[in-house]
């Protein structure tokens, strides 16, 4: 008679038990999470070699100069993702470039010299995002117009304006993005009055350096800090018209984290101006060309500069 009522009551009881279990399980997470680690400093980076090296630099210098635990979250897939992660508090620090911050994050047109761009980015990041920006690390990862070292020496070329005289006899090779961007090839050609023997060859970034060395092309656009520049005896022409915006590398940091741990900023400031264009190229080459471990080469670098 009462079996049906009883059954229903059992079911209701079980359901209630299940809900309680789920709820407590869900609530447990934050507790367990917090207990597992006192808050570590999370360092993010994008997914190419230079970013991994810079991220590792930040991590090791903080580990060396503070007592704080550090967590690495490298290989984040791009600027947008890093920015979102900063805003959400998922990462505390990551390496960024002034030019990228200006155009990709703040969505403003490129323009201005290094100091102007840096100041503008620093101020805008503080007011808009409540993020702090560290001092420039010392190198500029801007676009680099490269020619063979032989040609540079033979023709006594140091600047792009000088090279413009010879380009009608040369062939150029560029990557897809450089060809498409408004502040890429088109603007460059206009600024320097460049003309080439034939339309530029478009090819994969990885093949550009090799084509230059093998004389299939005479001029390419690469990155200023490419590891292969010295190794392949390539020469970077000076951008005397200041056509390319500056891409000075620095650390972007969460101000909340800095309020709690001001020693983090002190540690990172030790890197100010310590990494020259050449230094970065060598570090990139060690990983890309010699396939060495980023952790080791960063430690060596810091030791060599008495930063450990």
């Amino acid at each position: 008679m009462t079996s049906r009522i009883h059954e229903r009551q059992i079911v209701r009881h079980r359901l209630a038990q299940a809900c309680c279990a789920l709820l407590s399980f869900a609530l447990l997470f934050p507790v367990v999470g917090c207990a597992a680690h006192p808050h570590a400093i999370v360092i993010g980076s994008k997914n190419f070699t230079e970013q991994l090296i810079l991220g590792e630099l930040f991590a090791q210098i903080i580990e060396a100069h503070t007592h704080l635990p550090v967590e690495r979250r490298f290989y984040l897939a791009g600027t947008f993702i890093c920015q979102q992660a900063m805003l959400a508090g998922r990462i505390d620090i990551y390496p960024e470039y002034t030019g990228t911050a200006l155009t990709a994050v703040l969505k403003q047109p490129p323009g201005g010299n290094k100091q102007e761009v840096y100041a503008h980015v620093r101020d805008a990041y503080e007011t808009k995002f409540n993020l702090a920006v560290g001092p420039p690390l010392g190198f500029d990862d801007t676009f680099a117009i490269e020619i063979r070292g032989d040609d540079a020496r033979r023709l006594h070329l140091t600047t792009l304006s000088q090279a413009a005289a010879y380009t009608p006899q040369w062939r150029a090779g560029f990557g897809y993005e450089f060809m498409e961007r408004a502040d890429g090839y088109k603007g460059l050609a206009t600024s320097y009055g460049l003309r080439f023997a034939e339309p530029p060859r478009v090819m994969d970034l990885g093949l550009l350096a090799r084509s230059l060395v093998q004389k299939q092309v005479d001029l390419i656009a690469g990155n200023n800090t490419d590891g292969l520049i010295s190794a392949l005896d390539l020469f970077v022409l000076e951008d005397d018209h200041h056509y390319f915006p500056p891409y000075e590398a620095l650390a972007v940091m969460r101000r909340e984290m800095l309020k709690m741990h001001p020693e983090v900023k002190q540690a990172l400031d030790l890197l100010a101006g310590k990494i020259s264009d050449d230094d970065m190229r060598r570090l990139n080459y060690a990983v890309d060309g010699q396939h060495r471990d980023p952790v080791t080469i960063v430690r060596e670098f810091l030791a060599a500069h008495n930063l450990l």
């Binding site: 008679m1 009462t2 049906r4 009522i5």
Partner: protein
């Protein structure tokens, strides 16, 4: 807050009146020139085959349908002017197989209208017990679900539910047609006894002549949306109207034409 009892009858004593009602659906006429009345205390049986318009007639009483022409009056007021909710709560409705809510216990099913009318718990509990007894069901069944009951038990619950708020009018649509003959016969007799006690205005739809003869005070025979014959039971039984004869023959074999 319980419902105020409905005033029992209009000035001429009829609880339900159909006044030259015409009803059609999607252009198809279903009822034509329907005129009849049911007094308080009277049981009218609507007899007819499937499609004759019996169920449509019932639905015009409780406002599920509205006449296209003419007027249906309940307790002297046109169904067009009644608040449909109040109208329906004043009419008990029993359908084939009960129409019980499968997710309610027997008790909750019976208590439905009293609950939504805001009766207090004690009154409802007492009423449910009273009704279970009235329809001949064991009080222990109150906590069962319809799926656990037999067809006859479900039908009794359906009747109990219809009677719960003590409405002055009861309409039943083939209420006993799905039951086995023995149960059916029991239900008919019990219903007849209930009727004599309660004196409600009852409209009972069936296609079964014997049921009609057993339960009716009056019988209205419907065919193709019209009332063809409308007579007190005793007269109907011996009427020589061709359709009535056809019915009698269908139930008991051919008659001799005197």
């Amino acid at each position: 807050m319980s419902a105020t009892p409905i005033s029992l009858a209009s000035s001429n004593g009829s609880a339900i009146e159909f006044d030259r009602v015409f009803f059609s659906l999607n252009g198809r006429p279903l009822l034509e020139n329907l005129t009849l009345s049911v007094s308080q205390g009277e049981t009218l049986v609507l007899l007819g085959r499937s499609g004759s318009g019996k169920t449509t007639t019932l639905k015009l009483i409780n406002g599920l349908l509205m006449p296209v022409e003419g007027e249906v009056r309940v307790s002297g007021r046109s169904t067009r002017t009644w608040d449909p909710i109040r109208l329906r709560r004043s009419i008990g409705y029993v359908i084939q197989d009960g129409g019980l809510f499968p997710h309610f216990t027997v008790e909750r099913n019976i208590a439905l209208v009293p609950r939504i009318e805001g009766w207090d718990r004690q009154r409802i509990e007492a009423r449910v017990r009273e009704l279970l007894e009235l329809v001949g069901l064991d009080v222990e069944l109150a906590s069962r679900y319809p799926s656990e009951l037999s067809g006859g038990q479900r039908q009794r619950v359906g009747v109990a539910r219809a009677l719960a708020a003590d409405p002055p009018i009861l309409i039943l649509d083939e209420a006993f047609s799905a039951l086995d003959p023995i149960t059916r016969s029991e239900m008919q007799k019990e219903f007849r006894a209930l009727q004599r006690r309660m004196r409600k205005a009852v409209v009972f739809v069936t296609h079964d002549l014997r049921e009609a003869l057993l339960l009716a005070d009056r019988i209205a025979l419907m065919e193709e949306g019209r009332v063809v014959v409308n007579l007190p039971m005793a007269e109907f039984r011996v009427s020589q109207h061709p359709l009535v004869r056809a019915y009698r023959e269908a139930f008991s074999g051919p008659e001799e034409t005197r």
